[in-house]
């Protein structure tokens, strides 16, 4: 999902030598008893590293996720749409900041996290490496991308790590307006002229499959799920969440009068689920590996923003130091 668990060299395989087996057992007991783990509590090194990786990938995704939507801020079709989109993009920035703060409670500095993103060492969700070609893409992102994010984030509100769970509660409260504003954009277009409806359909055609990929590789191929489930970081598997998303979204697409770009999609009356066609996992691998349509642009834009802001950070620190010196004198 926003943390697609695709970094090679998985964390979680075995403990570093010297880590006390008794500590591990006590830790697992606490997790099994649904106790929340807090920053200064004893925790296995692999739990700490897994969380740093997952929470920071999640944060990076929120931050990079501002770019595809930010692309349409100046061209929103009305003041109402513009105000809503601006508020949504600002929320995504907030989500990134809540999450960076949660990751920092595990003993990593903000500067280091930012550095990992800017140097390409850290991953972020594959979905934000696709371009926003028309205004309808803003509708599709809110409806589908935020919809998928909500599916993933709601169970994270019960994650075993306290600061992550609390950040997710804040995020989820803000997230529902995002999806509704996206759906409203799609509905307006779908009920508009034939050109507007075609625009909505085109956006759905391009975003549908990348959205299904957001949930990460199929369970059979996923490297981290076992430990993450045992530690109650993850409560549902990738495939379970993907299925929930499809079941919730297909009827919404039908309500819009749009067609999902999947000839194999059919309702299975026995299971009560929508069965969907094969996902192109090679595409996901390529995008994650850096070869998506916008990977280079996204990182270049982020670096540029960071470098352009350097003088502001410098000036603010210099001002704070000067004032402190004055007060001390």
């Amino acid at each position: 999902m926003y943390t697609q668990a695709l970094n090679a060299g998985a964390v979680g395989a075995g403990q570093p030598p010297g880590e006390d087996a008794a500590l591990l057992a006590r830790f697992q007991e606490r997790v099994d008893a649904d106790q929340r783990i807090e920053p200064n509590d004893a925790m296995p090194e692999a739990y700490r590293r897994t969380l740093i990786r997952q929470i920071s990938q999640h944060a990076h995704s929120e931050i990079i996720g501002m770019q595809p939507e930010g692309n349409w801020l100046t061209r929103a079709p009305s003041l109402r749409r513009k105000a809503a989109l601006l508020a949504k993009v600002q929320d995504e920035c907030g989500h990134g900041l809540y999450l960076y703060a949660a990751a920092e409670t595990l003993g990593i500095a903000r500067e280091e996290l930012v550095d990992q993103l800017l140097t390409g060492k850290a991953k972020y969700s594959s979905i934000f490496n696709y371009p926003t070609l028309s205004w309808a893409d803003i509708g599709a992102i809110g409806w589908l991308v935020d919809g998928a994010a909500i599916m993933n984030q709601i169970p994270l509100c019960r994650c075993s790590y306290g600061p992550y769970a609390r950040a997710m509660i804040r995020v989820c409260k803000e997230e529902s307006f995002h999806q509704r504003q996206g759906f409203e954009i799609m509905l307006t277009l779908a009920r508009g002229t034939s050109a507007q409806k075609a625009m909505a359909q085109d956006a759905l055609d391009r975003w549908w499959w990348p959205c299904l990929m957001m949930f990460g590789p199929p369970d059979a191929a996923s490297q981290h799920s076992d430990t993450s489930t045992r530690w109650k970081i993850k409560r549902f598997s990738n495939d379970e969440l993907r299925r929930k998303f499809v079941d919730a979204t297909v009827p919404q697409a039908h309500f819009l009068g749009l067609t999902l770009p999947d000839p194999d999609l059919r309702f299975d009356a026995d299971s009560g689920h929508w069965e969907f066609g094969a996902i192109d996992w090679d595409e996901l691998r390529r995008v994650i590996a850096g070869d998506g349509p916008c990977n280079a642009d996204r990182i270049a834009a982020r670096r540029c923003a960071h470098e352009d802001g350097a003088w502001v950070r410098e000036a603010a620190l210099a001002f704070a130091a000067k004032r402190q010196a004055k007060q001390a004198a």
């Binding site: 807090e38 929320d91 500095a109 603010a316």
Partner: protein, 95 residues
């Protein structure tokens, strides 16, 4: 070049319902004025509060989770600190 680090602050907000300030999260800012402004932007975009405190994180002294037993266990055995410990006949009514 490594930039100097920007200090961490803890943010507390008093919501409109008259409760005490409550910890809501943390942020980075170079001084208290900017920390307050950032806290406003970050934690009160939907009217969550009527008052904000920002406190440098390093100014907080926290109890050590390892001392949990020593700190809090003694209270657990003192059930006579709770009203239900005392017998008052039903006839007396609510007390």
């Amino acid at each position: 070049m490594t930039e100097p680090k920007i200090p961490l602050w803890e943010v507390f907000i008093r919501s409109r319902n008259g409760l005490a300030h409550k910890h809501v999260g943390s942020l980075h800012a170079s001084d208290a004025t900017l920390a307050l402004q950032a806290a406003r932007d970050l934690y009160t975009r939907r009217g969550e509060g009527l008052s904000i405190w920002v406190v440098p994180s390093h100014a907080i002294t926290a109890s050590d989770p390892a001392d949990k037993g020593m700190m809090f266990e003694p209270a657990a055995s003192k059930i006579y600190r709770h009203p239900t410990f005392y017998d008052v006949p039903d006839e007396v009514g609510h007390m």
